[in-house]
Symmetry: none
Subunit: 222 residues, 4 copies
DNA sequence: GATGAATGAGTTTTCATTCAT
DNA sequence: GATGAATGAAAACTCATTCAT
């Protein structure tokens, strides 16, 4: 269980640690990895209930029974899919943030990064948003724990921004985080469903405009 | 298909018109309504695939075959559920906005209203967020058209705010709308899944704080 | 639950009551009866585990799904098979005993009757001996309750024989009953398995000879 | 194939010969013996069809494939289990009968011995009664041949009793044998299924009472 | 001889949908 | 319009058996 982590370094270390662990057993039998890859694809395409084990087996080039050598059951396989990606995701984010100064810049980068990741990992994203993050089971999964780390990373950046006087002090960091994640997700759904392209750079600008400056005219806030 | 509507009054009229239509044939046979009510409940509780027609029939107090008198098939029934609610929802929103002056106040009201509606219509909300808004079928449904009206309503408010000089002119109204909807939705998911209570008033404040004033210190934006 | 019954009349009445009940709902839908008849045949032929639901459905001339309209699952169907036969069996026995005087004659009749029933109901018998009477589930089944009545009938006959001075007083009636049943069953197994014919009359004589007179020479018992 | 043996000594010799052979290759690789021991346990516990090869392999501490080095298939393994026990059983019986004079005493001993063996070898007994002795395959197995020797032993004792004038001459020895075996078996089933204790001494008395003296009052047989 | 990963045929069970009444 | 018995296709999962190492 990840307890609430507040220091940037703590979050970083946690992510790095898990990422390294996962990378090490990444090649534990190409079979397992092929099955997960196939599952990611088919689950994302058809949804959990309309995916058949037989279709995954075919795509992975293994027999149906083989899948049950590696995974308890269909649900188990579903939750196994994002385990790798979620931590990889957090790790990527971390790398992208290297050398960036200031909370504002970091947040902008986070927004850009997430949109970009969604764009380049459509299957994974569909799976996460449309299939996995429903039902209480998700909140007990490894994937959730991993994403929690990423989510903590954002929280930490916001808090440090406040501490350093770069961000106004009276905002609720949780809400800011949820706004960032929620906005991106909401914007992404039609893209995911219809497979349209995402004009990332414009989006980042538009989102940051609101997040940083708000809607009100300056003199109205006085 | 609803074409893009931009005038407040246009949106209002459209919503009123549909709402009135629906209200009129609301009592077209209590059977149909009982089936829809049962479907809403069971679909929300168990999800689309784990709901059986037989369970809905039982809950509605009709025979299984009867359901097929009113609905083509299971999916058809699923999409029929939100048809009523979505327009009712838009209509409610409209009523709540009556007499409120200024885009800022209206937006604040919208945020409050939506959180409140989610809270008081948990089944409907679960259904919409977790079941219906996936798969391209949704975007062809009546429910989508209805929600589009609500969504246009928000857009119009923002645009009028810009026109009236109450809202800064360089924001993208679509993004603002998506931020509002996305944030509320993202915050709501754990509540929906776990059935926790929602501290609405605090949330509205926290969200509005960011939406209206942004994160940056005033003098930093110069 | 049948409590231990000791009076001949009590046993008789109990059996008659249940037999009548069963006869009444014997025609409750020919489908159910056809399924049970098919199940009896196939289960007896192949054994429980090597019987497929599909084979039973085919034999019964119904769809596989139909079987599940009437029975919870395969095991449930297995136990449903002997429910009718067991009480019918007890009832037949009762009828055959009508007008027979004396415990000795009744016991002889019981032995004859049971061998004859086995001969004429080979499927039922195979099922009972080889499939059903294993596993603790049997002892909770209706079939067990019914056979218990039959078994009580034998006990009662023995006890009345003792009471009337026709049977020696120092025998354990339970053991006598088990000897009768066990002997017949043991003799029957090869017949059931190989489908040979049973020379009933000789068997009855041979069994009765031992049961009534024993192995010892008369003067040796003094 | 064992042809019908009638002389006590012949039966004895046959049993001794086979018993000695088996004892010699008893230690032919501890693997095989461990597999058989594991199979006996699991088959008895779960029944043939609900036992998995994997469970036996685990219990025996070998790999699944290893089992197929020693046995053709699952059925083959099932029938291999009682091969040892059955002859051991016959051999034990023989030893217990040493020095006992008279058919009556020998039969009493046989009854006691068999009940005792059942009690102390519950797994083996469950396996024999509930799993193996069904289906025509059994009658072609080594176990059947071995038990046939034991069965012949009983027959021989009865015949010698008749010859020596200790047993009445007009009984059918086969029936007597089947009565002994059938009675004990029938009494044992509930014990085996529920794991209750067996009050052997009382049982032996009660059974012998009937077998030797019969139910009829002495003067009634004249 | 020993292993155990891989196989894939085979089975129970579910359930949306139909249609005769 | 209403019913609900009947259908049968479809799918997850199991496990005896094989075979390359």
């Amino acid at each position: 269980m990840t307890k609430s982590v507040v220091k940037m370094n703590d979050v970083q270390n946690e992510i790095k640690k898990i990422a390294t662990n996962l990378k090490n057993n990444k090649d534990e039998g190409s079979k397992k990895r092929r099955i997960i890859a196939a599952a990611e694809q088919i689950f994302a395409q058809k949804g959990f209930f309309e995916t058949t084990i037989s279709a995954i087996a075919k795509e992975a080039g293994v027999a149906e029974g083989t899948i049950y050598e590696y995974f308890e059951n269909k649900k188990d396989l579903l939750y196994a899919v994002p385990e790798q990606n979620t931590i990889e995701y957090a790790d990527f984010a971390l790398n992208h943030l290297q050398g960036i100064k200031g909370a504002t810049n970091k947040i902008r980068k986070i927004i850009w990064f997430q949109l970009d990741y969604f764009r380049t990992h459509r299957n994974y994203t569909k799976l996460m948003i449309l299939e996995i993050r429903r039902g209480p089971d998700y909140f007990k999964s490894k994937a959730y724990e991993n994403l929690k780390l990423y989510s903590d990373l954002i929280l930490t950046i916001i808090r440090e921004g406040i501490r350093d006087g770069e961000i106004v002090s009276d905002v609720n960091p949780y809400i800011v985080r949820d706004m960032i994640l929620g906005t991106i997700e909401h914007i992404s759904i039609p893209w995911l469903v219809f497979g349209r392209e995402i004009p990332i750079d414009d989006l980042v600008e538009d989102i940051c405009k609101v997040i940083f400056s708000g809607l009100s005219l300056k003199d109205m806030t006085f």
